[in-house]
Amino acid sequence: MTETTQAEISAEIEAEAQAYAARPAGAPAETTTRRGWGAYRSSVLRVPSNDPHPVDPEGVELWAPCFGQRDVDPLEADLTIQGRGEPLGERIVVTGRVLDGDGRPVRGQLVEVWQANASGRYVHQRDQHPAPLDPHFTGTGRCLTDDDGTYRFTTVKPGPYPWRNHRNAWRPAHVHFSLFGTDFTQRLVTQMYFPGDPLMGLDPIATAVVDPAARARMVATYDHDLTEPEWATGYRWDVVLTGSHRTPREDDLAAALGEEA
């Protein structure tokens, strides 16, 4: 069997982009990721055949799990201090706000990240990329958002890495993010990309977000005001979850604990 080439994958991506650009006037813009996306080969047997079934959220679906100081050590937000020495690579700060669709900050909520090291290698045992592991870098971190919905991590810039989707397939540099909102229906796992990455348009995963503006929402912005002298460059990336079904109020906690009539 001949391996699929990047040119063939790029042609598939381009055909979808052109069909989208030629959609009828007035057709709404896509805001999120395509469910089915053949260029991403592992999706073929895993994406559901049926459209998701609409339902009104009830009970526990209207709430998200609660995390607190007991769950997360503030030091877990610094991915550069987990070893006995400094990890190699460009030290960066990544920060931004987690908001719901109405622009309300998501407060005190768990944010989890994982990423390759500066060479493009994960510690994960299944990662076979022959790039060096870094004994001072595990590539995992956690934090809680503050009252403004802000998260902040210190890490190193991940490298791009090869994968087996097709011949000579390379993932653009990215940081994986896991986020919770105030409703469980807002649960989001996504990836943050870096500005100007030449691999992004070639990547079957990033291009599964066909609308250019929607895809751009996964890309961080370089922010010199976040850059710290003699220390680290800074990137800003805000995350917007889908709208909440529920308007959070002061008595949320009491209601949740059933202390309300």
């Binding site: 999706s43 895993r46 009104d56 799990p65 007991r70 929607a214 709208g243």
Partner: protein
């Protein structure tokens, strides 16, 4: 009404195991507890093959049907029930939680737990419910009256309701069984919440 467009989802990929699971993630209560119940199943793909690199999340109310808002899921103290757990599937595609039976969220409602599935190849997470079956927390009346279940044809409805098996451990312990079929024959009913401006 919302006006900020959402950040798109992306696949969890194959390399989440060092970041998302934690020790004790799938044991919402200690397995030895008298009222502990096992909820387990296999995640399968469109070819019927097990998915060994999926992550399943469980979120549920307490035994009294009330939503729990207590921290501590990531460092369980053995006493506090947080309602949240995670389980990465094993090489056979299996997941297994130890939890308690949730109560109904309203009088006469059918109790269920909420499940999320992430996996390499899934561009965005999938959400579903696992309803408690007759004989293990559910009643025929409440299941028959449930608005979601009532709107589905019987074949698809069955994918949302747990089965009872005897893999609960101990002496004839019963367990809840709920396979999660990503695609194809027996495909699980995956849910969306259209009151959200940009879908669920």
């Amino acid at each position: 009404m919302s006006d900020l467009p959402p950040t798109p989802g992306q696949t969890v990929g194959p390399f989440f195991h060092d970041a998302l699971p934690w020790t004790g993630d799938a044991a919402l209560v200690p397995p030895g507890r008298a009222d502990a119940v096992r909820l387990h199943g296999v995640v399968r793909d469109g070819a019927g093959d097990p998915v060994p690199d999926a992550l399943v999340e469980l979120w549920q109310a307490g035994q009294d049907g009330r939503v729990v808002q207590r921290p501590g899921s990531l460092h369980r103290d053995g006493h506090t029930f947080t309602g949240f757990g995670r389980c990465a599937t094993d090489r056979a595609g299996s997941y297994s939680f130890t939890t308690v039976l949730p109560g109904a969220h309203a009088e006469g409602a059918a109790p269920f737990v909420s499940l999320t599935v992430f996996a390499r190849g899934l561009l965005h997470r999938l959400l579903t419910r696992a309803y408690l079956p007759v004989g293990l927390g559910g009643t025929a009346e409440a299941l028959a009256a449930d608005p979601l279940l009532a709107g589905l044809d019987p074949g698809r409805r069955a994918t949302l309701v747990c089965e009872v098996d005897d893999d609960g451990g101990g002496a004839g312990g019963q367990a809840l069984r709920r396979d999660l079929v990503l695609q194809g024959p027996g495909e699980t009913v995956w849910l969306t919440y259209p009151r959200l401006p940009h879908g669920g």
